[in-house]
Structure formats: C-alpha cells, structure tokens
C-alpha cells in the first residue's frame, strides 16, 4: 500500500495518538493515505470512531506484536 506519509505514535497514550493523527491529517490532501503506528490499545476503538466522525476512511488496519497499524485515507 502506498502511504503518503507515516506517523509514529508508538508509546504515546490517549489522547495523543489521535491528537497527533488529526494534526498530521490536516496537512494532507483529500485522497492521501496516512499510515499510523500506535501501541495504545485505546486506539483500536478510537481511531476508527474518530476517522468515521471526521469523514476519513480506514482502508486497512493490522495488529502485529502489539503495534497497531492504521492506513487512513483522507476524506
């Protein structure tokens, strides 16, 4: 998958993963894909809920050795 940008928020706890993701997303253009790496388990529910509320689409997500990876397409 071609990510426009990669954001590492590993080790950060709520609310920082979403705060940083939003900030990064604000710099991208519609259709761009942001790849986010997080370790806060709260992101599992909150990242999709935030993306949905903000009009973005999570096109893929995976969990690997406690790292959550989200590919979020800007709406």
């Amino acid at each position: 998958m071609n990510s426009t940008k990669v954001l590492d928020v590993k080790g950060m706890s709520c609310p920082m993963p979403i705060v940083r993701t939003k900030k990064e997303m604000d710099t991208l253009s519609s259709g761009d894909i942001l790849e986010v790496h997080a370790t806060d388990q709260g992101a599992l529910a909150d990242m999709p809920a935030w993306a949905n509320a903000a009009g973005h689409t999570i096109i893929k997500q995976k969990e690997d050795a406690e790292v959550l990876t989200f590919f979020i397409q800007k709406g």
Binding site: C14, I18, K22, A49
Partner: protein, 375 residues
Amino acid sequence: MTMMKMTAAQVARKVIDNQPLFILDVRNHDAYEDWKIEGHNFEYLNIPYFELLDGVDNVLSKLPIDQDVLVVCAKEGSSIMVAEMIAEAGRNVFYLEGGMKSWSSYLEPIKVGDLRGGGELYQFVRLGKGCLSYMIISEGEAAIIDAVRFTDVFRNFAIEKNVDIKHVFDTHLHADHISGGRLIAEATGATYYLPQKDAEEVVFDYTAIEDALTVKIGAAQINVSALYSPGHTIGSTSFIIDGKYLLSGDILFIDSIGRPDLAGLAEDWVGDLRETLNIRYRELTEELIVLPSHFMNIDELNADGTIAKRLGHLFAENHGLNIESEEAFRHTVTDNLPPQPNAYQQIRQVNMGKISPNFDEQTEMEIGPNRCAVR
C-alpha cells in the same frame, strides 16, 4: 477558571448519598453505551474527546453552571485535555482521577451489621463493576469471602481493624473478575478455600469447601457455614454467617438470579440452579439477610450504600424466584442471556492460576460491567 481533580472515592460518595453530578463522558459512544458511572441524580453528556480537538465552544452551553461538572474518560488523559479546554473557556470543571480504570477498581467498605457475641460484618462495594466482597471480623480474627483483586484494600482494612486474616473463601470460580483470594491467603498465611467441583483445573493448593463445612472466627466463635448451592457453577457455595446472613454468591441477587452458562454448561446446570433456589434456599429461614456477590443496578443499593435484603422479601419480589414452570425457568436462564462479561474465559484461566497477566492486563480484562445475572 480552574480544573480540579475528583477521586473515585468522592464520586462513590455522591452515588451513595444521591448527590447530583453532571458527567461529560468523553469516551467513544460504544464504550459509553456499554458501561458508565451510574448515579441516581447524575446527568450525562457523551461526546468523544476526538470530536473536541478543535475546541469545546459547542459544548459549553450544554454544561450546567449550578452543579459540579465531571469529565470522564478511560484512563484520565483525554479528560484532562478536555477539562483544560473547558477551564480555559472560563468554567470550573473536574476530571476523574485515573478515569474509568480507577472507577472500576474503587472499593467502598460499608458496615452491614454487628454479629451476636461480638464482631462485625463489612461489605466492600465495588461500584464501578458491581462486585461485592465481604469481611467478617471478630476478636482479632477475620474471614474474607469473594475478595476482588485489590488485595491491599482488604489487608489494610484488617490492619486498621487490628485483626488477622485467617480464612479466605471464594463462593465459586469467578468468570467476571479476578479473585484476590489466593494472593491474600499467600501473603497472610490464611487458609484459602474453594469449592472442589469448581477447582478441578486449578494449578495451586487450596482447601476444599465441603457442604456444611463450618469455620469459627474469633473467640466469640462466629459461625461461617457452607451451603452447597450449585447452578451458576457446579461448585457454587453459599455461606451462612452467624445464623443471620446468607452470602448467596452468584446464585441469588437482589433483583435477578445467577446465569448458568459462564463455565459453558448452561443446559446441564439449569436443574441445579432451580433446585438451589426452589428447594435448598426455601428450607432456610426467611429472616436471613441475603448478601450477594454482585449487583447489577444502583437501584439495588440501600440508603446506606449496602446491597442487602431479607430472604423473605426476595421470595416475594425477585422475578427469578417466582417462575412457576420448569420450562419457563429453563427459557429464562438459557435463552436471551445478556452478553458474556468481557474476557470471561481468560479471567477463569487467571483464577485457576493457569495464566498470570500483569496489573494493566488484568485491568483491561475487567473492563465493563459484571453481567453475571439473568432477569
């Protein structure tokens, strides 16, 4: 204006005293719908923190100015962020220290009553999770029943009361929360008792609870007597304390009865559950005060915060004790069951000693309500 912290203990006091509180819950909608802080005079507004990243202007008008506003999130971080924004906008606001994680773990010890011949019975109310634990103390000795995993609370309470913990019981192998019983026993040298039929897979030493086993507490010889009462699990055991209190475990609650499916054998145990409720319990005196190991709803709290009712009252009022036909009973306790408690299979493994998650993992497993009842 200022942001202040409110502790889980302060929130518990507001629940028990029926004080008003306005809760701005900033967790996501699913988490809020699943489980929140319940209070008779609490008002709620649920707006996820991630919808407030650009500011709280739209929220301010919805917050009352004449009562305390408490911002709540899962662990505290997001509630501090939102509360800071509200304070900067000129309002006084509280955040919940430690978030729902701390609410889930807070225990309020409340005295249920005095025992004949000297001694006291305490109920430890875990408001956030609906778990109830008990401590019987008499003349320097204590017994604990259904301790939750915050072992310090029980040990510190025993120190404060100047008593030695001698006996630790679990009424059954719990599936909704992690027991603190074994750790308390290990740390204090107390005897740890489990019903043998629930303990076939446990990997540690314990003392088996036999039907009618009686243990005496203190010089006054307060009786703690086991009554085999299967149905929630095959080994489920109740305790009669001092001939006055019936600790009903997860068999009988104030406004509901235990579910028989959490150890995977609902069909097999329906008959046991019905027999316990309709025969074994019916043989007891109606004057016994029922003290369950859970509550489901804050409507079950008495004015002093305890969860306790006369057995006779429950025979008259509890729906589960008033189902005439066996077929209807079977239907109630095997069909339309509520969702199972979070991570209940893992929790059973922990209580068997098969896995040893760390503190944070245990907290994660215990998120959400207990869900041990059917109504």
